[in-house]
């Protein structure tokens, strides 16, 4: 066997190894939280920080679920209430209510958005194969922001597509105002 063939062989082996590694799959981690007793999860890489709830400044003429803006170390950050967004019953603010600060990419620029949740529950790991597709319900039930379902200790966790959720937030409203 010549040296060149030897090297080629080695490369093949390496390739196969890489493939095997890919099959093993990196598990994605998700931060889970409660919204009106339902458990949701977001990609943990999108989470910048978690803050206790503090009052926000209301922005006039915005949908109810946009709670307002808060001061995040000098940056003005909008806060969205997901319970209102999903039309869940409006729970009261408790001492577990927190704001999860997410970084999302909208129009190629990074935006920071806070979401109000009833409480953070933990971090779960899920491989892509473990994520089930969300069923279609039709009608009023909003599933377009749910990227998948994960079963964790017999509890169903809904994984949120934050990019889609919050991008549509900023985008659709932008379109709305420029139309009017």
């Amino acid at each position: 066997m010549t040296a060149a063939e030897n090297i080629a062989e080695n490369v093949d082996v390496l390739d196969e190894e890489a493939e095997i590694e890919q099959e093993v799959e990196v598990k994605n981690e998700f931060l889970t939280f409660f919204l009106a007793k339902e458990e949701y999860g977001v990609d943990i890489l999108r989470v910048q920080e978690i803050r206790g709830w503090e009052s926000v400044t209301r922005i006039p003429n915005t949908p109810l679920y946009v709670k307002g803006v808060m001061n995040l170390r000098g940056a003005i950050v909008p806060v969205v209430d997901l319970r209102d967004r999903f039309g869940l019953e409006n729970a009261e603010l408790t001492n577990t209510t927190v704001v999860v600060v997410l970084r999302v990419i909208v129009n190629e620029s990074e935006k920071i958005v806070g979401i109000v949740v009833d409480g953070v529950s933990g971090v779960i790991e899920a491989a892509v194969s473990e994520v089930a597709r969300s069923p279609e319900f039709g009608g009023d039930i909003k599933t377009e922001f749910i990227s998948g379902l994960v079963n964790q200790n017999d509890v169903m966790v809904m994984l949120l597509d934050v990019e889609k959720l919050l991008a549509s937030e900023c985008m659709s409203l932008e379109a709305e105002t420029s139309d009017s």
């Binding site: 009052s55 003429n61 803006v69 000098g74 940056a75 003005i76 105002t177």
Partner: protein
């Protein structure tokens, strides 16, 4: 090239454009025949550094072009050439041309070759005309500069060629240079006899294939200048030991003296002098890389800050650190007996913080001369084009403005100055006929006034004809016949979109063209523009701009339990209304009478949908009379809270643009307050 040159491009372009401005203003200052040494020197220096830079970066065409300009300037500097109108004009043209070329290189677009060629020809014609007459000996086209040409003159006469000892450092190849290429280039210059020296070659097992162990002894014969050699070795400078000696016909003594000077010269050449013809392969290689790296560089703008401002900042930070450590010590074992010290310390902290803030804002401030500097040229060109005689005066060029404001005010100012020259100033004969001086005057002045920067453009031309403007306004349907308008209201008409007054003002074109854009741009900066004019005497346009866009003087107002900020600029007055002042139009449109005007009332809590409102009666709260877009209205708020400077934060950065709101700020208690945008609020209120 071991360094990625692209990283320096941005700086090079900035400096070059600055240099072009220096050249331009210098050229305009050069009075015909009257040679101001210093002026010419500064023009020459600017041209020289552009040439040097462009040569280094491989923008050969720019370097070559600048070289011709430099030759001409050099002759002027030495007094070998009298300065004529034509030569100045040619130089001005070539400055334009150079600017085009540089922008083309920067933006990676095509250069207008025709223009370059014609401008170049213009220069060459002038050069050939007079050098033939006055200076037969020196051939300026090849002389780099004075010192080089003198060396050359000494040796060139009896020189056969060059003896070059070329000892590359071992790492030469790693820097991307190729000895073979260098040798080949030398061979192209003349007849090359090369001898390689293998003495340093190590044994095979010690040999590193990436290192270079060979040195060369080269004899190059032919009519070759030292610059040509320098060009060849330009890119290996610093990576090799180089000794260049001229081979003389018979006198080895001269050779010995020049031996020492030549390498030294070769060393400094790349820094000071330009490569007239940079090595072609290197230049080509650099080109694609440059275009790739340029896109992001173009968007990031830089700012030049005076060292004194930076020193100020450092001092201030030093003070701040001292105060902080003092407070820290105080906090370690604090008891009530030392509360005085704490109060003192906090006061100091506050003072230093404010000073620091001011110093930081200062960094963004640049003298407005950066914008003004283009106007002498503009007026010069316009007046010669239109056959008018216009004197241009500037004052207050050192007035400092925020960089963003300055960048955006340039175009509106150009428009206004052009208008003044075009439509304001009359033709010389008309001026004489009306008993004015033949020379018209256009003045540009900038000054600070009460937290604003004011720019005035004054001309002593024919002024605006209010009655003609009014006629036009009625014709356009902007004014209803019989409506009584004040002069300033009439002048405001020219800012209306589509108010072309071609017939009304001049035969050439109308003063209205683009004036609406001018006003829009100024308003976008938070400024106002006003016109005062007297028929037959002149027109003054006054632009008032905020000093900075980052901070605004605001009035905090309370509406329910919410706090909003109204820019002080838009507030005229705040009043408590009497029920007798309030009227209803068509049963619901609320208006109030302020002196002789009826102004609409906007209830802020309605427009903004404030949930917690306790005050509904107009008489209980206050009306803030505001103005925006030339319209006034009364904003109904619960109370005025106070005036303060607020730092403007963008809502768009993380959310989106909101109607009625220009941005947000953070109040002393850390909460967010929205800043009201009056014109936008009025539109919003109309929809409700």
């Amino acid at each position: 090239m071991s360094i990625d040159m692209a990283q320096f491009h941005q700086v090079f372009f900035e400096e070059s454009f600055e240099g072009l401005e220096t050249m331009e203003s210098g050229l305009l200052n050069l009075d015909k025949g009257d040679v101001d040494e210093e002026e010419i020197n500064s023009i020459f220096r600017a041209a020289h550094s552009i040439k040097g830079g462009s040569g280094t970066f491989g923008f050969t065409n720019v370097a070559e072009f600048t070289h011709i300009m430099e030759t001409l300037l050099d002759e002027m500097r030495d007094g070998r050439r009298t300065i004529t109108d034509e030569s100045l004009e040619a130089l001005l043209h070539s400055v334009d041309c150079l600017r085009d070329m540089l922008s083309a290189v920067r933006d990676d677009t095509e250069v207008d070759e025709e223009k370059v060629a014609s401008s170049r020809k213009e220069l060459e014609v002038i050069l050939s005309e007079e050098t033939a007459a006055s200076e037969p000996s020196g051939s300026p086209a090849t002389s780099e500069s004075v010192e080089v040409s003198s060396v050359e003159a000494e040796v060139a006469a009896k020189q056969l060629g060059w003896h070059i000892v070329f000892t590359p450092h071992a790492n030469l190849l790693q820097t991307g240079n190729d000895v073979v290429r260098i040798l080949r280039e030398l061979d192209e210059l003349g007849t090359l006899a090369a001898e390689a020296d293998f003495d340093n070659l190590p044994n095979f097992d010690a040999l590193d294939a990436e290192n270079l162990y060979i040195s060369w002894d080269l004899k190059l014969t032919g009519d070759i200048t030292i610059e040509q050699l320098d060009d060849v070795f330009l890119w290996v400078d610093g990576d090799c030991d180089l000794a260049i000696m001229p081979i003389m016909d018979k006198t080895p003594v001269v050779a010995a003296t020049t031996t020492e000077s030549a390498p030294a010269e070769a060393e400094k050449t790349p820094e000071v002098e330009a490569a007239v013809e940079a090595p072609k392969p290197a230049a080509k290689k650099a080109a694609p890389k440059k275009s790739a790296a340029k896109k992001p560089a173009a968007s990031a703008s830089s700012i030049r800050v005076g060292i004194d401002k930076v020193d100020d900042l450092i001092n201030m930070v030093g003070e701040l650190v001292i105060t902080q450590s003092m407070l820290g010590m105080l906090g370690e074992d604090f008891d009530m007996s030392r509360v005085d010290k704490l109060v003192d310390g906090l006061a100091q902290l506050e003072r230093h913080t404010r000073e620091l803030q001011e110093s930081v804002m200062q960094i963004r401030m640049l003298p407005i001369s950066f914008t003004f500097s283009r106007f002498p040229r503009l007026v010069h060109d316009l007046s010669s084009k239109m056959g008018k005689k216009i004197e241009f005066k500037m004052s207050g060029e050192n007035t400092e403005v925020d960089k963003t404001v300055m960048e955006k005010i340039g175009d509106p100012l150009v428009h206004l100055v052009r208008n003044s020259c075009d439509h304001g100033i009359e033709m010389p004969e008309d001026r004489l006929a009306t008993g004015k001086e033949e020379h018209g005057t256009v003045e540009l002045e900038a000054y600070h006034k009460g937290g604003n920067i004011v720019i005035e453009i004054r001309d002593d031309g024919k002024g605006l004809d209010a009655s003609k403007l009014l006629e036009k306004g009625i014709e356009k349907g902007l004014v209803t016949p019989g409506q009584k308008l004040s002069d300033s209201q009439i002048y405001d008409l020219i800012f209306m979109p589509g108010f072309s007054t071609a017939a009304a003002i001049t035969d050439v074109s109308g003063r209205g063209v683009g004036m609406d854009v001018v006003r829009k741009n100024i308003q976008a900066l938070g400024g106002v523009v006003e016109i005062t004019s007297e028929l037959g005497v002149g027109t003054t346009i006054t632009i008032r701009l905020p000093l900075t866009l980052a901070i605004l003087d605001g009035q905090t107002v309370a509406v329910g339990d919410e706090v909003y900020i109204i820019p002080l600029m838009s507030i005229i007055e705040s009043i408590q209304v009497d029920p007798s002042m309030i009227n209803l139009v068509a049963g619901k449109g609320e208006t109030f009478k302020l002196r002789n005007e009826y102004l609409p009332i906007v209830r802020l809590y309605e427009t903004f949908g404030v949930p917690s409102v306790s005050l509904n009666e107009l008489t209980e709260g206050l009306l803030v009379v505001v103005e925006g877009d030339g319209r006034k209205c009364g904003l109904f708020v619960d109370d005025l809270l106070g005036q303060q400077q607020v730092v403007i934060k963008s809502l768009e950065a993380n959310y989106r643009r909101m109607e009625g709101v220009s941005g947000a700020t953070i109040l002393g208690d850390g909460s967010v307050a929205l800043i009201i945008d009056i014109p936008s609020l009025m539109r919003l209120a109309n929809k409700h």
